[in-house]
Symmetry: C2
Subunit: 415 residues, 2 copies
Amino acid sequence: MYVAKIAVLGYGTVGSGVVEVINTNNEIVSKNSGEKVEIKYVLDLRDFPGDPVQNILTHNFDDILNDSEVEVVVEVMGGIKPAYDFVKSSLLAGKSVCTSNKALVAAHGDELMSIAKQNDVSFLFEASVGGGIPIIRPLNRCITCDKVLKIEGILNGTTNYMLTKMGDDDMEYEDVLADAQQKGYAERNPEADVEGHDACRKIAILASMVTGKKVDFTEIPTEGITKISKTVMEYAKALGASVKLIGSAKFEGEKVWARVAPTLVYPNSPLYAVKDVFNAISVTGNMLGEVMFYGQGAGKSATASAVVSDVVELVKYKKNIYTAWTEEKQVLSDTSELVESKLIRVIASDTEKAKTAVKNIFGVSEFTTLPSKNDEFVFISQKEAQGVVCGKIEELGKAEGVKEIKNVIVVEEIC
Amino acid sequence: MYVAKIAVLGYGTVGSGVVEVINTNNEIVSKNSGEKVEIKYVLDLRDFPGDPVQNILTHNFDDILNDSEVEVVVEVMGGIKPAYDFVKSSLLAGKSVCTSNKALVAAHGDELMSIAKQNDVSFLFEASVGGGIPIIRPLNRCITCDKVLKIEGILNGTTNYMLTKMGDDDMEYEDVLADAQQKGYAERNPEADVEGHDACRKIAILASMVTGKKVDFTEIPTEGITKISKTVMEYAKALGASVKLIGSAKFEGEKVWARVAPTLVYPNSPLYAVKDVFNAISVTGNMLGEVMFYGQGAGKSATASAVVSDVVELVKYKKNIYTAWTEEKQVLSDTSELVESKLIRVIASDTEKAKTAVKNIFGVSEFTTLPSKNDEFVFISQKEAQGVVCGKIEELGKAEGVKEIKNVIVVEEIC
C-alpha cells in the first residue's frame, strides 16, 4: 500500500486530536483513503518531552515545505499569522491543505481556494464550521440540485451553553459566563464568543458557499448575547419559546441577507431542542424543504474527526476537488428590508401609559408579564420591514410611560 | 456545454418530482453537474395526455436500454419487479443508475453495486433512506475516519406521525391510522409502515454501509407500532419521555446487532424532538461523538431532490464512485445479548401482589401509574442482558396478581 505523508501544523487541542484520530483509527483512515496515512511532521514552537510526538516534531516550517514527500498539510494552529503564510506557501508548493481555522477561511478562503485550483491541489475546511458536524461537504456534494433559500444555525457552542444554563437553570449572565470559563467552554477573554464574532465568521463561510462569492464577514450585522439575561429567558419561556444565538443567511433572487442575532425560537423549529454545547445548522432548499445537521460543534476529538475526514478526501482524490467560492464579492442587502417580528421588552415608568403607547404605535395589545416584574412587559411586534420597526421602537422609547426599551430580539420565522 | 441525457423509470410521485426538480432547477443542476442535464425519456405504462412529459414518454424499456446516448437511469418505480431487471440491464449496458427504492437496495444492492463496479459505472441510492435527508453520501464521504459505534434513527415518517398524534393529541391508534390514511401518509394497507418493514430495510442499508458487508434485512428482529396505544404514550409522558419507532444498529468489535422496535426516548436524546412526518438519523463515532441528520423523510419534492443529487454525482464523476458494501454476508449477533432496560406495562388482577412480584423478580420498586388506570402500572427494569429480562418477563407473567404483560418497550441508552 502506498504511504501518504502528512504534516500537522500546531499541536494544541485540535492538533493533538488530529494525531490521536489518525493513530487510533489508522486502519479506517487508511482504508477510506486508499493509502496508508502517516504523519511525518508535527510543527509547534514548543517541545513535548515524553510525548511520542517529539520524534516527529519540528520547529521549522521549512522542513515541511521543502519535503516533497509531504502531500497534505493540516493547519490547526488557528489565527491568521502565521497560518495564512504557511497555508499559502504549502498550496503554492503543490501540497493540499485542510484546516479547522474559521478566521483564516472567512478572511482568505477565496484567495487560498483560487491558489489551490491553479496548482491542482485542494483547500478543504470541513472543521471550520460546526466542529464535528458534516456541513461543508454535504453543502457541496449533497445539496446540489436545490436553490438554497435559507441557512441558519446555532454555530457557537459556548453561547448556546450559556443560554441553556440561563434558561434551564435560572442563572444570571455573569454566573453562567464564570461557569463556562471554569468548564473550559469559554476563554478568559470571552469576546469572540459572546459578542457573536465566531458565529459571524461561520455564517459568512456558509453564505459564501451558497452564493459562490465572497461574503465579507465584517459587513454582517452581528449582535451577541451580552444583553441576554435570566429575565429575558423567563419571558421567552412564558411565550413557550427559547432564545438562541442564530447566525442566518437568506437568499431571494439576487438578494442576500446575513446576520447574527439572539433569536426567539419556538418548539416547532428543530433548533429549539439544540441545547448545551451542541451546534446545529439548518438548510432550506426550494425542493428539499428543511434539513438539519446536528452534533458537537467543538471539542478536541469531534473537530479532529472533521479535519481528518478532509485528509481522507485529499489523499483519495489528489487533484483539485472544488472551489467553493470565488474572489468575487457578494453584495449583502440591508437587513432593515427583512420583514419579521421582534420581541420587545419595555421598562415602564407607568405601565398603563406604556402599554397604550405600544397599542398606538405598534397596533399590538397582547402583552406578556412576569409575576416578579411589575414595571415591565414584553410584546411581539407585527411582521413588517425592520426599518419600519426600528423607527417605531425609537418612537416608543420617547413615549410617555416608557422608561427604557431594554431588549429587542428577532422572532424566528417558521417557513 | 455537453448535454447529459438521462431516463426516468416511473412517473409516479417521486418520478414526477424528479422531472420537476430537473426542470425547475435546471440551471443549478447543470452547473453542479458540469454538464447540461436533460431528460430524454420517462418510462411508464400509463399515458399522461396534456402533461408535457407525454412528449418524452415511452412504454418500452428497450428504447432506453438501447439508446447509447442515455448515460444515467433514474429508477423510481419502487418494488422489485421489474425494477431489478431494468437496473441490472442498465448497469450491464454501461449506464449509471440511481434509485429511491429501498426494497431493491436492501434485497439486491450488493449484487447491483458489484455489477456497477465491474462496468465502471455507479449505483447510487441516497433517497432510499431518510427521503431528502443527506445520509448515504455523508456516511460515505464525511464519516470516514471514525469507528462507527451506533446508528439509530426515526426512519419512517408515517409511524412517527402516528406516534406524535397519539402522544400530543391524545388520539387512539385506530383514529390516528385513519387520519394518516386520509392525509395520504399511510397506505390503504399500512403493513409496511406500521409493522416496521420499511424501517427494517432502511436500517439494513445503513448497517451494511458501516460494515461493508450485506446485512440481510430478513434477519433483523422487527417490531412495529401496532401495540402502541394512547395509554402507552401517557405512561411515556408521565416518565418525561416519548415513544419512537427506532431502527438501530450497534457495532462492537466484530459484533453487529440490528433491530427495529418502539423505544422509550428521553429529552436528552436529539431524536426526542423529532415529530410528525420528520425523520432523523443519528450516527455515533468513536471520535466524532454523536451527529444527527434531520429532515423530511418522504414527500415528492424532498425525495426527488435526493435522487437528483445522485444524478449530479453520476454526471459529474462518470466512473465508478464507490461500492458501499460487498456481497459478503454480515453475521448478526443475537439481540438477547444486548444489555439494556425495558419499560414493562403490567395489567394486574391484584395490583399490590403484582408489584410485590415485580420487586421479587426484577428488584425494582419504582412504579408509574396513571390516575385513570387503577388496575395497571409500568416499571423500568434494571440494565441487564435482554435474554435474562425475557426470562424474568415470562416469570412475571405467571406470578400471582399479574393478569397480563401488555407492553415491553426498549429504553434508549444514552451514550
